[in-house]
Amino acid sequence: MLAMNYRGPYRVRVDEKPMPAILHPEDAIVRVTRSCICGSDLHLYHGMVPDTRVGTTFGHEFCGVVEQVGPEVRNLKPGDHVLVPFNIACGKCEFCQQGLFGNCHESNAQATAVGGIFGYSHTAGGYDGGQAQYVRVPYADVGPMVIPDWMDPDDAVLLTDVVPTGYQAAEMGGIRPGDTVVVFGAGPVGLMAARSAWLFGAGRVIVIDHIEYRLDFARTYCPAEVYNFREIDDIVVFLKKQTDSLGADVCIDAVGGDAAGNALQTLIGTKLKLEAGNAIALHWAINSVKKGGVVSIVGVYGPTGNIVPIGNVVNKGITLRANQASVKRLLPRLVEHIREGRIDPKAMITHRVPLADIADAYHLFSAKLDGCIKPVLLPNGA
């Protein structure tokens, strides 16, 4: 089969690889129909996540048709078209029982801090991902959901990560009706976080980024007030002035380690990789939120140390909430929101690319070219 092959920072290609096999009785093999490149993949692509080994296949946002199931799989059968949450979760452990499917204890040998994730380095378990024609899906009875007949597969594939991650970002903000919510980052997750903030009753939603076409998209899609931090002298002071000098009720970091906007952070975190990426979006979130407010973090940072203004967290009495999204927990609600037309995930898809062109798709997305918001790969044709 054909699969994406990581060769090092900023280098990927498509190669012939062995077909995946059933390695555990709860495994399934899925023929991929759609697979996204996620903003989180760019952290891998840029070489920022430790233990990203040459030769691995990325891809944690995908849906496809079940080809084969292991002897202990009960809920799926060959021919089912399923969406596959990015978390690999057993459904039985201490953490899965709490709904923390992103923190499963039975899916990641290499680390205890995070559960297994498809195609997301050996720090997240060392599983091959879905940017391939076929993929092995462990715990097939737990994560995958059969796509309803009425649902567009383009919506379904975005339910595997970006939609629940954005929604959970808003949920973790504890937004109350009338709250002012600031979202840092106008990528797909930031867009969905801003859109979801309205569902929790936000009174005002502000999106911060530095790419004009993404801000234009956020203005209409979310719909939100948008500001380009490159055009503002000090974004924290600006946001304070926007909120009667108090600060926002909720700030959401939907950026993570690939942030721009601060030379020192870029040098230490992005270029030298001596900390877990550039933490400037998190700095801005902590410093822009009001005293007693909530900072919600879904941006991906590597596992090494970070220079974070923890003193301000203490002095301002801020609540920090953060996690990988627990997709399975959120799916029923999000499916309903799509059915009711409250969210429209597929509107974010700007590029549909054959697997063979994956290097160009990664570069397009990474370099923010051609108005790219969200690229979708078609590993087995349209």
């Binding site: 060769r7 555990h24 009706p177 070219l369």
Partner: protein, 182 residues
Amino acid sequence: MSENLVDTSTIRGWGADANSDNDPTFPIRHREAQETRGLTWTRPTQQDADVEILQSVEHNRRPAVIGTSTPPSGISGMIRRYAFRRSESDWLHWLLLMGADRLNVVEGVIDDLGKGHVPNIPAEMGARAEWKHNKKGLVTKAAVLAGLTTATILVFRARRSKDEAKPGDADMLALSPPETFS
């Protein structure tokens, strides 16, 4: 407070999830309803591994399901094995892994060449997309790269010719070969 720029009455679904009784907050609030606590759940079947799996020292048993995509190999693999003697809270654990990742890239090129495949690095970096959507940027990068390469070569050549013309070299040459070699 500043005046809001978006009329919330026009937002489809505004406040749909605002009812706190309908709050899907996690982790679940009623942990007392959990069936098990600690490492006491009914474990899934243990997956066997036919490749080397590095395991965090913070695990007291191997998770039931494991990824087998890319076992450690070469010198980078040796570094990874050493890194996994340290816990996830140890900065060196992660720095060693990052170092192994960089070395692994060189190993990947050597592996390609060993298999008779010369990697097309510009294509792997998406040069076609850059050419199509950012010609100016590509030309600028190419010019900068060419300039740096030229400058490096010129500096190297200048240093070499300076070394060749350095006084005293002739005296040093006159000393060789040492008498003990004769």
